[in-house]
Subunit: 354 residues, 2 copies
């Protein structure tokens, strides 16, 4: 049996038996299904099929935080339309690097595909486009697709920053998405498949929480326009919350819980370097809480005792947290240990790295 303790807050959690990665009906190997609610990916000849366009996320988005939220947020939105029980996952294969680059560029005489304004005095709002594919049970036939559209809340040009209002962003998003859908529907095999669309608002470079998806929709029956978007209620917050700030974490008690945890942990060892947290809310519920503890060098015996102690604190302080709780204990030399609690389980998992 293969057991997955998913630490990826944007994937649903659960534990299940594996089917042992036998050949799918179409003859491809799969990675072996581990978690009931995670997608199983297709591999050919033992090799994972990467996306030709995947490097664009790293170059186009302005921080690792935006990148992570953009990628895993789209996968979360995809679950509602493409159940992991029925579909295989594949990195986007239809839109290649050059195509996406052209679409993201400013419109010009050289590039009439550009979806950003020709006028250089206008900000670039449409910043990145990412494709995720979902295959039928034969492991070959494309059943559907998700497209993540990242839009700038701040546009950085060489010498200035331009803030983009939510209204301006949404006006641009509606126009851009319709244009992209019109083009995509003309591509081979994409005429009638369901396409999940997500609108991601990229946060500024300095924002250590990264951006969020703000709207989603599903384009069905070959549609090339989207009339109604559904609001997405997700947010990423940092802990501790600054004393003057009020947000969902101060309202639902998470901020107080985190402060208790931080105090208990910092009291345990003298000179602990830092305790910080990130919390991810979906529909006002904690989906994922990640805490980072930075330590100086400690001996194996000290780390073992410390990890036991952290486990006890997680158990007592975060007992009522609905989502996944994950504590990473790192030193400058690398990961030392971690402690985790899965959603709706009392059990604490901990691991001390060798």
């Amino acid at each position: 049996m293969l057991l997955l303790l998913s630490g990826c807050g944007n994937l649903d959690k659960g534990v299940s038996n594996v089917d042992n990665g036998n050949k799918s009906d179409g003859g491809n190997m799969t990675t072996g299904r581990i978690d009931r609610s995670e997608y199983q990916a297709i591999i050919n000849d033992g090799r994972y099929k990467t996306s030709a366009a995947r490097e664009l996320n790293a170059t186009k988005l302005n921080s690792g935080y935006n990148q992570d939220n953009f990628e895993s947020g789209l996968l979360r939105l995809s679950h509602q339309t493409f159940s992991p029980d029925k579909y295989f996952f594949q990195e986007g294969q239809k839109l290649d690097y050059d195509t996406i680059e052209k679409w993201l560029a400013r419109n010009s005489d050289d590039n009439n595909q550009g979806l950003n304004p020709a006028d250089e005095s206008q900000p670039i709002i449409f910043q990145q486009l990412m494709e995720q594919d979902f295959l039928k049970e034969d492991g070959k036939t494309l059943a559907g697709m998700s497209l993540g559209f990242a839009f700038n809340s701040v546009y950085y040009s060489n010498d200035s920053e331009t803030s983009i209002s939510r209204d301006e962003l949404m006006a641009n998003a509606r126009k851009t998405i319709n244009a992209v859908l019109t083009r995509v529907r003309k591509m081979e095999g994409l005429k009638n498949i369901p396409i999940v669309v997500g609108i991601f608002e990229q946060a500024s470079k300095e924002d250590i929480n990264g951006g969020n998806y703000i709207y989603t929709a599903v384009s069905k029956d070959g549609g090339t326009t989207i009339a109604d978007f559904k609001a997405v209620n997700e947010s990423h917050l940092s802990l501790p919350v600054a004393s003057e700030v009020k947000n969902i974490a101060t309202q639902d008690g998470m901020s107080t819980k985190f402060n208790s945890f931080q105090a208990a942990v910092q009291n345990f060892f003298p000179n602990l370097v830092g305790v910080t947290g990130q919390v991810y809310y979906v529909d006002e519920q904690v989906e994922n809480l990640t805490i980072n503890i930075e330590t100086k060098y400690y001996s194996k015996t000290e780390i073992t005792s410390f990890t036991q102690y952290v486990g006890k604190q997680v158990e007592s302080i975060f007992d009522s947290v609905a989502g996944n709780v994950e504590v990473q204990i790192n030193s400058v030399e690398g990961p030392q240990a971690f402690v985790a609690k899965k959603p709706e389980q009392k059990e604490i998992i901990s691991y001390i790295f060798n």
Copy 2:
């Protein structure tokens, strides 16, 4: 319930219910017992009692590899005399920083406590002394102690390196240990307690496997000399094994298994940066196998699929390995995921970091 998946190869493994860290008989809190065969440590007022001398390990030993092997190896040797079921663990409290520094120094007019030769042309062989304490069930009374003695296999002076033969090292070790025991037995509370002694042969700076314990003994009934040492059979090896080398890993099939794993994993993703391993043998048995996979940046979806795939490979390739198997997947940005298999269990545990 608290569950520990111990990744620390030198601690025995097992899973058990926790007793919830209630006050011990003596009124101190404990960290909460997690694993049947790991020591439970004492904490006072929520604060861990560090050793005043602990920084010496970092300054005296010549690599992190030596340091890790020195610390966790002594704890492993302690299990035989001080069962974790009966004793609490505490960082060494009796020998303070200054005392150990004096003992480790060269003998001189200023320091007649120095156990290294006054003659500067002679190498320093006795390099480091570490204390670990074991307390009775009241959490207060010292029941016994372990002393790790590190000796140099290579002595580095300003301008040269001197190799020290095993015979020379052991002659020095016998003399040094008797001298230390004579002094320790005069200290308050240490007259009659059992003292586990370990002789650690520090490896050279360049040796990425670090040193090993080579002999151990138990001093009982207030003894100040040790007549017979028992040989310790432990070794740390690196994987892959260079093609011209023959060692236990090439003899017992571990080397071949690792090469299969490496090939399978490197085929999965193009441009995987590196796959290396460390294996720890005790009495010719694999106690712990740690594999490090260095990746470039990958997306969440790629890491998820990759982790599933690695889990399948561990399950099929390292199925018959008796000890703990641990695979760490890291990128330059930090830990991405890990996969582990506990001794004598088929179950694979994996975790994808958020």
